[in-house]
Amino acid sequence: MLGIDDPWIWTGHLFAIGLTLFCLIYGWLKFNDDGEDDING
């Protein structure tokens, strides 16, 4: 894929991009959430 043959390398890229999307979505959804309620410890 894109000139890179080793699946370990491009899955690493996909994983990094997926995690970035998670950060974006989580931050967006919890933008105004103080986040203290979900801590029970």
């Binding site: 894109l2 043959d5 080793d6 690493g12 990094a16 970035t20 950060c23 919890k30 933008f31 986040g35």
Partner: protein, 543 residues
């Protein structure tokens, strides 16, 4: 290697302009802070992009861009997994799971430093002093790596002697640590973060354009695999677009030192834990996560992509791989490459100077936080106990929970400690060999994780933290890490030389043990010890 170097007059003009802008933003931010009656409210009103960029500039430094960018240039694109781990562990788990609890518990305990946090949480002066000692042992190596990254970029860009660059930066570090409080406002951090972000995007785009496009550049890099040096090929390297062969010596070093050492190590970094404790609210951590993910992907991802691609550029231009071209010093690959592809035009040189100044500022703000952490460990966490013990005026428990007169004195001691640590950092930097920045970062992060991560996690999640379990876990993790690092792992053992000095005739275990990072041994040991003591204590208590 061809001498590069930007025009000194251009550098001077841009540097003065940059400094003026920095001071102006500092004064603006300082006045705004003074005007706010309630700083907390002011903090909550701040633009989230400014907030996130400032987080990014504080977390990422020359060690990541120059050190690990260089390792990528030497060993290939497998470091993309470190980007994923940085986002997963250093951002998502650190902020969502650890950050919010640390902030809440730290606030309740009134803790000022990370050792103070652990000491108060476990009600143990021993844990406070011991964890401060670990910081003083490991952190100078990391701060020296950050400083060396700055030195290398100055050497490559301004074409000046290494010792002159080190001496000059040492003076700037001292000034920054002394007077930096006034300019270390969020606006300046955001300025650094913004330039760093844009600079890395431009670097990525120019690299791909220079090499003929994304697919063409990757294909050319894949085709370079016959150029992998024989010793690296024998160790398991299969090319710059391939992960090292599974189970090979290089695979063990790559995975255990560079990926896990830094990936997991990010969780128990004392200077970052203090950041969570001072965060205005849980919501500011959520917001930082949003832009922080993109920031890490672009800034670190670019460094780890451009590093390997530099091989195509140097091979097409000079017929040499990056390591050959820079004289077998991976720590010079990124600085030399940036100067090579941007040098020769006014716009390019302007970019180099701005990029250099931004990297230096990011290094200064990271160094400042590391030096203050070390100074506080020496002056606040250790010296206070030593003084009380000598005079017999207070018990260790009284010192742990603090009293005002002592606090003022310990702050003075912390300032002296910070100055001493500047000297120590400069001396360590002076003696650092080539190819050391990424490895030093892994050493510090690995040591703190092996020693402190289980106890830190325990205090955040257990309803009744077990002090005895935490004490033995910290000691076991430290001793195991030190033994493995000094005697078994060949790279560290050979570099430090203690093993051969003490036991010149002894035979030590070979591959794979000699290439496994001490973190991978030390962290399971400290975790098992904590669990064993915790479960034993609960069973005994329940009987």
């Amino acid at each position: 290697m061809v001498d590069a170097g930007v025009n000194m007059a251009l550098f001077a003009v841009v540097a003065v302009g940059y400094l003026a802008l920095t001071i102006a933003l500092g004064i603006y931010g300082y006045r705004k802070t003074l005007r706010n009656e309630d700083f907390m409210v002011g903090g909550r009103k701040i633009n989230p992009v400014i907030l996130a960029l400032s987080y990014g500039a504080t977390f990422l430094s020359t060690a990541a861009i120059i050190g690990f960018g260089g390792v990528s240039g030497q060993l290939g694109m497998g470091t993309i997994w470190l980007v994923a781990l940085n986002i997963l562990v250093g951002l998502i788990i650190a902020f969502i799971v650890f950050g919010k609890r640390t902030r809440r518990i730290g606030k309740r305990l009134n803790a000022l430093t990370f050792p103070d946090f652990l000491g108060r949480a476990f009600n143990s002066p021993f844990i406070q002093v011991f964890s401060a000692a670990i910081i003083l042992m490991g952190m100078p190596i990391y701060s020296a790596a950050v400083l060396l990254g700055g030195v290398n970029f100055v050497v490559a860009s301004l074409d000046i002697d290494r010792n002159v660059a080190l001496f000059g930066l040492a003076i700037i570090v001292t000034l920054y640590v002394t007077y930096g409080g006034i300019i270390a406002v969020m606006y300046n951090d955001a300025l650094q973060g913004g330039i760093m972000f844009l600079g890395m995007l431009i670097l990525l785009a120019v690299t791909y354009i220079e090499l003929g496009g994304v697919v063409e550049a990757h294909q050319a890099l894949t085709n370079l695999s016959p150029q992998v040096p024989q010793p690296l090929s024998d160790a398991g390297m299969r090319g710059w677009t391939a992960f090292p062969a599974f189970g090979s010596p290089l695979w063990y070093t790559f995975v255990t030192t560079f990926l896990l050492g830094v990936g997991i190590g990010a969780l128990a970094q004392p200077q970052l834990a203090v950041r969570y404790m001072t965060a205005e609210s849980g919501r500011s951590l959520n917001r930082a996560l949003m832009v922080g993910g993109i920031f890490i992907l672009v800034v670190v991802g670019t460094a780890y992509t451009v590093g390997p691609l530099s091989n195509v550029y140097f091979f097409n231009t000079y017929g040499e791989t990056s390591m050959q071209y820079v004289g077998q010093n991976a720590d010079m690959i990124i600085p030399v490459f940036v100067n090579e592809i941007f040098g020769g035009s006014l716009f390019g040189e302007l970019f180099i100077v701005l990029f250099l100044l931004t990297l230096l500022c990011a290094a200064m703000s990271t160094l400042s936080s590391l030096l203050h952490t070390m100074g506080a460990s020496a002056g606040y966490d250790i010296w206070r106990h030593v003084r009380a013990n000598r005079s017999g005026s207070h018990t260790a428990e009284e010192v742990l929970h603090g009293h005002d007169k002592d606090l003022v004195r310990s702050m003075r001691a912390a300032r002296i400690g910070t100055m001493v640590m500047i000297v120590v950092t400069v001396i360590v930097t002076y003696y650092m060999p080539a190819n050391i920045i990424a490895r030093s970062t892994a050493v510090f992060m690995g040591l703190t994780a092996a020693a402190l991560l289980p106890a830190y996690t325990h205090v955040l999640f257990a309803k009744e933290p077990d002090t005895r379990a935490a004490k033995w876990s910290i000691v076991a993790g430290t001793v195991t890490w030190l033994f493995w690092g000094l005697f078994i792992q060949a790279n560290n053992a050979n570099q430090i030389g203690l093993r051969d000095a003490l036991f010149p005739a002894a035979t030590w275990p070979g591959v794979p043990y000699s290439v496994i990072d001490p973190l991978v041994i030390g962290l399971p040991v400290s975790t098992v010890v904590l669990l064993a003591f915790f479960l034993y204590g609960r069973r005994k208590g329940g009987l």
